[in-house]
Symmetry: C2
Subunit: 348 residues, 2 copies
């Protein structure tokens, strides 16, 4: 590993995982931090009598450009953190916002972004309750960076986590993949398409709560942001010591997104999503979970895309690695590799 | 107001207050955000039966240089957010950390900063439970920026806030002012002093809980960070529609700090502190609050520095503004002005 930070350390792929292990969890590890889920679920002693637990999550947003088709950094800051809380089964309640502004940033653009935050927060039903603003000199930032942290409440009995996935479980995907990543990268590359490519940034807390009501034994949720579906499912496979088998032609992907990804040389499974949720549910609840997603806001294109399998599964090569396989439309199997390198920087 | 962000918008003084009003609270205001205290105090319905409330606060840290005498950006990120939670009377419990790293930052320096975070978190008794890392290109950051957000629990009956200050209350200061600001500015200016000037960065949660136990009618706490004592007391005066009268020769300030501030042209009341707490307490509990501070970690130099007075107080000029006055050692009164302009950028 390099002795300096590289762009790949922020990509959501292999190098980021290495950085987190070398620089964070090995120096500052504790049981709560080490679960590897997107939100920490906490029960301070003052809450034990009530049975309620807190969910707590944080994300910084450095996306460039800060305004893009379908959204902006403000909408992203609300949706990203709301969705991280939702992965724990929490009802998201409160957000904090920390702005790092570059000297010279236009006040009018800041106001537009704050208005977008207000709209997204209203959609998600969360309140921005505390904030902070810092300013750095020109050339020491890039217009605007936003951190949002969120607090929610997890109902008694809800115990989600990547560790819960079991062979036989079904992988449900709430909609078409790659929309956010390809909208950003197309804009950066100056590409124009007939059908406009739009970010999918959306709050998914109503979708996850509908799935939990319909499929009460849901194992876990995960939103496939940086690193895309490949990073998300690989993490789940490692956390649960299983493998994942994805049916390529069942994964919803828009033709325009697939075309743009091919043209730009990206694997759609590596592209970031900001309004999609992966759920892993027991087989007997899969149909109910799917229907709940399809009837939820932002879930109309949901699909069953694969299954959790044992590393001993007869169809798999005898690698015994906890990884993700794709069954192509030709019926062959290939490994869904985790993103490596820096090909998708500053996507969120 | 300029149509672009200036360094003064991050200074903790007048221009920052204007920015917050124009770009944040006027677009995205709600009752919780508008209290103007350093931490939001929240009671989701799931917690109502227990009587417990949550405290939630956020701060981003952009201090330059990131390592300085007496601390570093990691220690600051823990202490600053712990202290913001402590101002609400909360027991700080959990922290999130969001890193924005510049491409090329040394991994060894990151590891040193994370180790410093671990030490400070242990001192404060808080757990880092969730985190995020982003990387930006060289020239789009400045080595390392950290956001830390924190969650704590506020015991039933504790109702602190700047609005509670009443004429006759006593202002207690936990120790010498200006140490952090002058340590940073001296380092930037390349000044060397015989007595080394050190940042005071320290977690003050034990100090505030000792004061609350000794002085149960404490009105509020506030940590005088950006903008220093002047911003802190002016905010309290405005929130409570009072004035503050500070006795200049009772404010603890180290000779070396006063000397350096004079040499560099700074008003010591504008200098940032990262390990000091201001408490406003009723007169009859002032002695107990002072003793509790003096017996607490980081409070040995605590002092009673002034009183809350009515705007009608006979000693004050008839301005009827809610502001802060200093009685000098000569017995004359002057206004303690709020920091204006950009003279102390990126101090935390």
């Amino acid at each position: 590993m390099s002795d300096r930070i590289t762009m790949a350390h922020g990509s959501g792929g292999t190098q980021m995982q290495e950085l987190v292990e070398q620089a964070f969890t090995s120096i500052y590890g504790n049981a709560l931090l080490l679960t590897g889920d997107d939100a920490a679920v906490l029960q301070p002693e003052e809450l034990q009598a009530s049975g309620a637990r807190l969910a707590f999550s944080t994300d910084s947003y450095v996306v460039t450009p800060p305004v893009f088709p379908g959204g902006d950094i403000g909408r992203l800051a609300v949706c990203g953190t709301v969705n991280d809380l939702a992965t724990s089964g929490a009802r998201p309640l409160y957000l904090s916002l920390g702005f790092i502004l570059e000297e010279g940033f236009l006040l009018a653009e800041l106001k537009r972004i704050v208005a977008s935050i207000a709209t997204a927060a209203e959609q998600a039903g969360v309140l921005v309750v505390t904030g902070d603003t810092k300013v750095v000199e020109q050339g020491k930032g890039d217009g605007i960076y936003i951190n949002s942290s969120g607090v929610g409440v997890v109902a008694p009995g809800v115990e989600l986590g990547g560790r819960n996935c079991k062979p036989g479980d079904i992988i449900v995907c709430s909609g078409s993949l790659g929309d956010h990543g390809i909208a950003i990268m197309s804009m950066r590359e100056g590409l124009n398409f007939e059908a406009p490519l739009q970010s999918d940034a959306a709050p998914l807390d109503k979708l996850t709560s509908a799935v939990l009501a319909a499929a009460p034994h849901t194992r876990c949720f995960r939103d496939p942001t940086r690193g895309g579906l490949a990073s998300t499912l690989t993490e789940l496979a490692r956390q649960s010591c299983t493998c994942m088998l994805v049916e390529e032609d069942k994964v919803p992907i828009k033709d325009a997104v697939r075309g743009a990804a091919d043209m730009l040389g990206y694997d759609v499974f590596h592209l970031a999503n900001e309004g999609k949720m992966i759920a892993v549910v027991p087989e007997e609840e899969a149909a109910a979970a799917l229907l709940a997603m399809q009837q939820s806001p932002y879930g109309s294109d949901a699909a069953l895309i694969g299954t959790v399998v044992s590393v001993e599964h007869p169809e798999l090569p005898r690698s015994h690695k906890h990884q993700v396989y794709v069954r192509t439309s030709l019926g062959t199997l290939r490994v869904m590799d985790v993103l490596s390198g820096e090909q998708l920087p500053r996507i969120c």
